[in-house]
């Protein structure tokens, strides 16, 4: 059996209509029936006592071709016309009979239709609400596990905490430092043109210092960590869920939340404030560099002014946000990891969702902080 002999000698499937006989010809196989079903649908069939399908000139037939023939016969039968099939070769006859089995009819009847718009909107809202509830119950579970650990400090797992401080904190130093340094440069550069106009060059220190310490350092650091570590948490826990490792942990008597979630939250709560301090330093350095080259404000003058411009509270406000952001990132990442169900594709989807959600929530939390601090006058 060679490929060429199989394809070259075959001709496209076709049919000829003469009186009340339909002569089927050619090769009724999957590669040669394109367009045929349309013509079968649009043919005006004869109205006689009986329409006869003559299959004696069919040179080849597979399940797709057999289905097409069965389909044509079925349509005619349903319109009340009597039909008959003759002359089909024995092996094709068997195929044809199999296509007409009751199982096939049931399978065909089970077609899925897209639900109407309103139903989809409802389902979407319901799903969103449920996710919210699940998240809430996850937070509750974590809180209970945390309380249990706090009551029995021997249960605290130090090794994973330290490991996570390293991967989420120390390993993130280069990228966080670089981005914040660049951010400091950008702010000073943007401010320079405006400040020069009023001869207020020295206020570049106020601009960079306040912007970095209060807002940008904590926010940028949180966004970087959400992308680096939050996604890793979701992927790690999600993969463990797919491979049933989470269940395996339960069976050997380890509470998965204690081993996989609490150390991550604690580690991020330690690492993120430290990273933020580092980001503050690098951000201000960037501003300082730009102040000297663009505004002729040298380092001594800049640092002197910085001391007057900043209060301790500005610094603490920035650092204080970091643990909250850490909690959001770790909880969202782990929660999405636990939401993975089934297959690898779900791991990918949940990882993406974890990053989008944690960044969204971090920014919302930051906005709330601004409102509250403004109200309190800090």
């Amino acid at each position: 059996m060679s490929l060429r002999s199989l394809s070259a000698s075959e001709v496209d499937a076709d049919f000829e209509l003469a009186h009340d006989t339909v002569r089927c010809i050619g090769s009724w196989t999957v590669g040669r029936i394109a367009g045929l079903e349309r013509r079968l649908d649009h043919t005006t069939w004869p109205r006689g006592a009986e329409v006869v399908f003559d299959g004696s000139a069919v040179t080849a037939m597979d399940t797709a071709g057999a289905w097409l023939l069965r389909r044509a016969l079925r349509t005619l039968e349903r319109s009340g016309q009597r039909v008959a099939l003759r002359g089909l070769r024995a092996e094709y006859e068997a195929l044809f009979a199999m296509i007409g089995s009751p199982d096939v009819e049931v399978a065909l009847a089970t077609t899925v239709s897209t639900p109407p718009l309103l139903e989809r909107v409802g389902a979407f809202a319901w799903h969103g609400g449920q996710q919210g509830m699940k998240m809430l119950s996850f937070v509750g579970e974590v809180a209970i596990a945390a309380a249990r650990c706090a009551a029995r400090p021997t249960r605290i797992r130090w090794r994973p905490i330290l490991y996570n401080v390293r991967t989420a904190g120390f390993d993130a130093l280069p990228i966080t430092g670089l981005l914040c340094f660049l951010m400091g440069i950008v702010i000073a550069y943007q401010g320079a043109t405006q400040l020069q106009r009023y001869g207020a060059n020295i206020f570049v220190a106020d601009l960079v210092g306040l912007a970095m310490l209060r807002e940008l350092s904590p926010l940028l650091t949180a966004i970087i960590v959400a992308g680096r570590s939050g996604s890793a948490y979701a992927a790690q826990i999600g993969t463990m869920k797919v491979t049933e490792e989470i269940d395996a942990l339960r069976t050997v008597g380890i509470v998965p939340i204690e081993l996989l979630v609490l150390p991550k939250i604690v580690a991020l709560a330690i690492a993120l404030p430290l990273l933020t301090v580092y980001a503050d330093v690098l951000g201000v350095s960037g501003g300082m560099l730009m102040a000297r080259t663009e505004l002729a404000v040298n380092h001594t003058v800049f640092l002197d002014r910085l001391q007057h411009a900043l209060r301790l509270s500005d610094y603490l406000v920035g650092i204080g946000k970091a643990p909250v952001f850490a909690g959001i990132i770790a909880v969202v990442g782990c929660f999405q990891g636990f939401q993975v169900a089934g297959d690898a594709e779900s791991v990918g989807r949940r990882t993406t969702v974890s990053v989008v959600q944690s960044i969204f929530l971090v920014i919302v939390a930051d906005a709330l902080f601004s409102v509250v601090f403004n109200y309190l006058g800090i």
């Binding site: 999957v30 394109a34 037939m61 096939v104 399978a107 089970t110 899925v112 089934g342 297959d343 594709e345």
Partner: protein, 264 residues
């Protein structure tokens, strides 16, 4: 479909195949022939190079030397484009199903049809439903995602996708691995029935002795990168080779053998 083939024409010919992974020798001069219309099984212990041979035949891996001819055409070294006509004429069922997780079962089955034919979507959906029913899946399985199916149903869905384009040649990798005995024997019957109805040639890789006794027309027994024996199960069970004997007359081998006698 099958009428052009001369009986006993070889569909797959493997000649003097050598494969190495670094220092490990996987195939050391493998030769075999699969005839038109037969169910040919490749048996052997885990790690003896069965699955690698299958992957080489279906162009997923390349041997160091030797020749593999499928439908009379040399396949070693073909690129993806040259391989396309061959790939359209064979179907492959992977050990763990390899169903696309983002598609439903019917979409999985319809995918090769959508890709390689110009049929309308409605017809493709109908043909997919026909295949789903042919492989013995309940109608409710069609709109489900693979993750929602049991292991046995996933295998059937994978088989439905493998026969989507009505191939002439079907490759099955460990078709009964991970199935309970009842589903496994159901699968044996399904393979036989499909072979008869669709005129398929089937090449399967397995270490399931029951499957070998029940469905295989001929079996090649592979030991340490070589074919230790080829023949029907009855011929092989009389083999003098110690390794083959060990395989068939170990406790499990005996059980499967006695079973097959009882049936007769």
């Amino acid at each position: 479909m099958v009428e052009l083939a001369k009986p006993s024409a070889a569909v797959i010919e493997v000649h003097d195949l050598h494969t190495r992974f670094g220092a490990a020798i996987v195939h050391d001069g493998v030769s075999l022939e699969v005839k038109e219309g037969e169910i040919f099984a490749l048996a052997g212990a885990s790690g003896c190079g069965k699955s690698t041979l299958l992957r080489e035949i279906i162009l997923l891996q390349r041997p160091q030397s030797g020749s593999i001819r499928v439908f009379g055409r040399e396949v070693v070294g073909l690129d993806d484009e040259e391989a396309l006509p061959l790939r359209r004429n064979w179907g492959v069922m992977f050990e763990r199903g390899a169903l696309f997780g983002s598609l439903t079962v019917s979409e999985n089955v319809g995918l090769p049809l959508r890709e390689h034919t110009r049929l309308r979507d409605r017809i493709i959906d109908e043909i997919a439903a026909v295949k789903v029913a042919l492989t013995g899946l309940p109608a409710s399985a069609g709109p489900k995602y693979p993750a929602e199916l049991s292991g046995g149903m996933r295998k059937r869905a994978a088989l439905a996708r493998a026969i989507a384009l009505d191939p002439r040649l079907l490759f099955l990798d460990e078709p009964t691995a991970g199935l309970d005995p009842l589903s496994a024997s159901g699968f044996d019957e399904l393979v036989r029935r499909l072979k008869e109805l669709l005129g398929l040639t089937i090449f399967l890789v397995t270490h399931d002795l029951d499957l070998l006794w029940r469905v295989a027309d001929r079996v090649a027994f592979m030991v340490e990168g070589r074919i230790a024996g080829v023949g029907t199960m009855h011929e092989l069970s009389k083999s003098e080779q110690p390794l083959v004997r060990e395989y068939f007359y170990g406790p499990r081998g005996r059980g499967a053998w006695e079973q097959s006698w009882k049936r007769k």
